[in-house]
Symmetry: C2
Subunit: 531 residues, 2 copies
């Protein structure tokens, strides 16, 4: 690829998003007029579908749900008048709540002000808030965030150690749409136990973000929680950043929620345009389709050159992989779709895996994301005469672009003028729309996640297995049997390997009175009730 062609290609192919000032450079992607022509009918259909979804069509037919994250930025577009009112009212209620927390009007029972937020949620209820709070944080944020996003007892302990001495001043936000997510429920139970150990009742420190009518909502009423904010069934977890899921933590962190929603709304307007040559999200979706042959044949590497965007790749990993990673298309044909996403931040990642991107297996396309504003002090430090750290950062981005493109590797460059709440809203909305359009191109439902259920069911099966093993061993008279034999005894011979690990886990702490005889993890080891 010649670089003089590059300027020509750059000039003629770049996409600008007017007021946000984003520039998407696809000149180093193997686009062709032929590919655009071939995909034009699919895009025309995708634009139609998107218009219908925004107008209130059932975007998620498997679950008979509408798909309305776009309405959160433009309530007037919501198809039901009561939803419009609910969107506006919820936003206002969140902002008023955060203002009262910051003013100390909503305060912890013991202590003058909430200085900490413990956020409990996982997946769509965690990654967006984590991304937004980190991307927009400043030194004078009114509260500090700690996150519980797993069911790791060791991780819970580490988080509470971090909060040691401040737990009484911690506002706890519990986010679960269904209210039944086990990881979130477990985090809540640990938090309540910690508070009670300090002699505190949990309710006056708790806030729920959950679907109306969920078990979590009921609990929040019964236990006198501070407040609750709704999640609606027309907002999916991975696109919930513009809902209470994102607005509550952003507001508590002191970030500009209105600017975030305005930026997302501006991007929505730009990506609503039914024109493949002008619509930035359609351009992205086109590039993805060409890169992956519409079948996930390349991984999407995401490298933002800004520390505070280090979570963006994980956020997009969830958004893209959970939306596009589907077994069947809408006609029930086996398609095994998806696009793998990974990345962290530049230039750091250049020292981790650019070696492979440059020299190794050609199985990816990379998106380099730059920010022109260094966000640094008024008089930036020169590390060499005339050169700043920010010049190096941009130099590494452009140098990587050059080195990869010269070798024919596939590169998308996305430049933002600055990284603020408005830009973050625009960035999120850009990818939300690109994913929606891409799903239309490959004819899948982007808004369900049937494959997640299989693992959850299997996990529930493992817990049932554990209960049955404990019961059988407790009821035995000291018999020492192998994991395989115990699995047979409880009628689950097909789950003997799982039985072995469950028994090893229990025996590690002699929990439920179970002990091991023999070598740990050895299939021949035997387990019995302790004497």
């Amino acid at each position: 690829m010649s670089d003089s062609l590059d300027w020509h290609g750059f000039h003629h192919r770049l996409v600008r998003v007017g007021e946000l000032g984003f520039v998407i450079d696809l000149s180093t992607m193997p686009l062709s007029e032929q590919a655009e022509r071939e995909l034009a009918p699919s895009f025309a259909n995708a634009f139609d579908e998107m218009r219908e979804i925004e107008a209130g069509a059932i975007g998620n037919p498997d679950e008979q749900r509408r798909v309305g994250h776009y309405w959160l930025r433009s309530p007037e577009r919501a198809p039901e008048p009561e939803w419009r009112a609910a969107i506006v009212e919820t936003r206002e209620r969140i902002q008023a709540f955060a203002a009262r927390v910051h003013a100390g009007e909503i305060a912890p029972p013991e202590g003058d002000r909430f200085s900490e937020v413990l956020h409990i949620g996982i997946g769509g209820s965690a990654l967006g808030p984590q991304l937004a709070v980190e991307a927009l944080s400043r030194a004078d944020d009114p509260v500090r965030f700690t996150w519980l996003d797993n069911t790791d007892p060791n991780g819970f302990d580490a988080a509470f150690e971090r909060l040691a001495g401040r737990l009484a001043r911690t506002l706890i936000v519990v986010v679960s749409k269904s209210g039944g997510t086990p990881e979130t429920r477990n985090g809540l139970e640990h938090a309540c136990a910690r508070l009670r150990a300090l002699g505190l009742e949990p309710g006056p420190q708790l806030v729920a973000v959950t679907a109306e009518g969920s078990a979590l909502e009921r609990r929040s009423h019964e236990e006198g929680w501070l407040e609750r904010f709704p999640m609606w069934d027309w907002v999916g977890g991975r696109t919930s950043l513009s809902s209470a899921v994102g607005l509550v933590p952003m507001s508590l962190a002191g970030h500009d929620v209105d600017a975030f929603l305005a930026g997302a709304g501006e991007m929505d307007a730009a990506t609503r345009v039914a024109d493949l040559t002008l619509n930035p999200a359609a351009r992205l979706a086109l590039a993805w389709h060409v890169a992956t042959s519409g079948r996930g044949l390349r991984d999407m590497v995401i490298i933002p050159y800004r520390d505070r965007l280090a979570l963006l790749a994980r956020y997009l990993q969830q958004l893209v992989m959970e939306s596009l990673g589907k077994r069947f298309d809408r006609d029930g044909r086996l398609v095994r779709q998806g696009i793998t996403v990974y990345g962290n931040k530049g230039s750091t990642d250049q020292h981790a895996y650019i070696q492979q991107l440059r020299d190794g297996v050609d199985n990816y396309f990379v998106t380099l994301i730059g920010v022109l504003d260094d966000g640094a002090a008024a008089a930036p430090l020169e590390v060499e005469p005339g050169i700043t750290s920010g010049d190096y950062l941009l130099g590494f981005l452009l140098g990587t672009r050059r080195a990869l493109a010269e070798d024919g590797r596939q590169v998308i460059t996305l430049m933002l003028p600055r990284l603020d709440a408005r830009a973050l809203g625009g960035l999120v909305a850009l990818y939300e729309r690109a994913v929606g359009l891409y799903a239309s191109l490959v004819r899948i439902n982007a808004y369900h996640q049937p494959g997640v259920e299989a693992g959850k069911q299997a996990a529930a099966g493992v817990l049932r297995l554990q209960r049955a093993l404990v019961e059988a061993i407790s009821a035995s008279t000291g018999e020492a049997l192998s994991a395989q034999s115990w699995a047979e005894r409880i009628g689950e011979p097909q789950h003997a390997v799982e039985a072995l690990w469950v028994l090893e886990h229990l025996a590690f702490d002699e929990r439920a009175g179970i002990v091991r005889e023999g070598v740990p993890g050895d299939p021949a080891a035997r387990y019995r009730a302790a004497d």
Copy 2:
């Protein structure tokens, strides 16, 4: 795949690492006796090569370097007597240094004790230390770590805000083998500027980890730094965790360096065995080869079910991708090798991308890593009768294993009894050896990184371009030209796109007196010297 077969396969295929107690379960990988037979000669050769490398052969012929990270755990195996002495002496010196820091004998000029460590390094000089410090951290660690691992001025500011009020009590460890890594140099310059702004001379707070004779070492002498520790040219960055690179931060964090090295040494002993059926690293390399067809055809997904191992996937991403992502094999044939690695932690990641792993494109094999020890309080909290958060965590691991394997997806399960310094050493050594053996199988040099240089050179070119643009515009008499025209003016028409972004970056802050006329990022915008 039938689960009763599963127990049989598990029983007959599992690999145990004796005293460390690791168990590797490959029963849900498509291994076959035929594949083992076919690869047996390659493995025999790989074992030979590994023995020669450990005996001091030139493992990295391109750079004419020996490869000695194994000697760091077994100094008596180092081929040169003076290296043996240097390994032992360095380790002792590091531990004595850390003990004196903890005791307050090495103390900040103003203040009684170093309470913070600022670690400046990138890539191989950062990921290992970050992984180890985080994986082993406890509530009573004697110091708290902050990391500079990029050249982002905004990220630098955020780190120093975090250290506000404590910078005078911060020990600063600067890690760069060559001493010339720009990101690290820039971080150092920012740190020195911050200290000087407080009226402090940097030297008495600085420690260098660098190659003997490097520019950084010279500087450390000239400026009276506290201490310096060596990096040797026979230790590569991505395998440097057992060298001063890892031992200095681990010792300062109060972690058990001797146990770490002992665990790695135990794994070295187990993986030195020249027997494909017994050697755990060889079993892993075999599974990788079968999964990827020896050509990187599947991604390696790494999901440890433990919050404090969340960096493991990024550590392995660097280790695997930088080692295996090679353009040419040892005979100079174009091979474009590599294996893509990504992941974060379970069960969190189940809510991000298990949907795609379960249902979507079949382009991966996954390694699930479990820890039997919950590392929790003596009386673990039951979130349901008889069930703890840790039971859920194991349940999600085993449930995911079941759900994926039932669908024919490729799963490796690695179970550790506990996660302590010794286990972490074993884990790191296991993957180091597996990568080394795999590189032999596919006949590449695992120990160089020629592709990284291209990006660095290109970045240096961008900085030269910036200097030339600033000079040309400063020398002009207010001419307003497009980026393309300025690029032509300085004789770099082929770098017009880069010129545009360099000029936009400068114009954003009106730096070097450069202003823009027109729309930001528009190819038609014009740049000139400010009036």
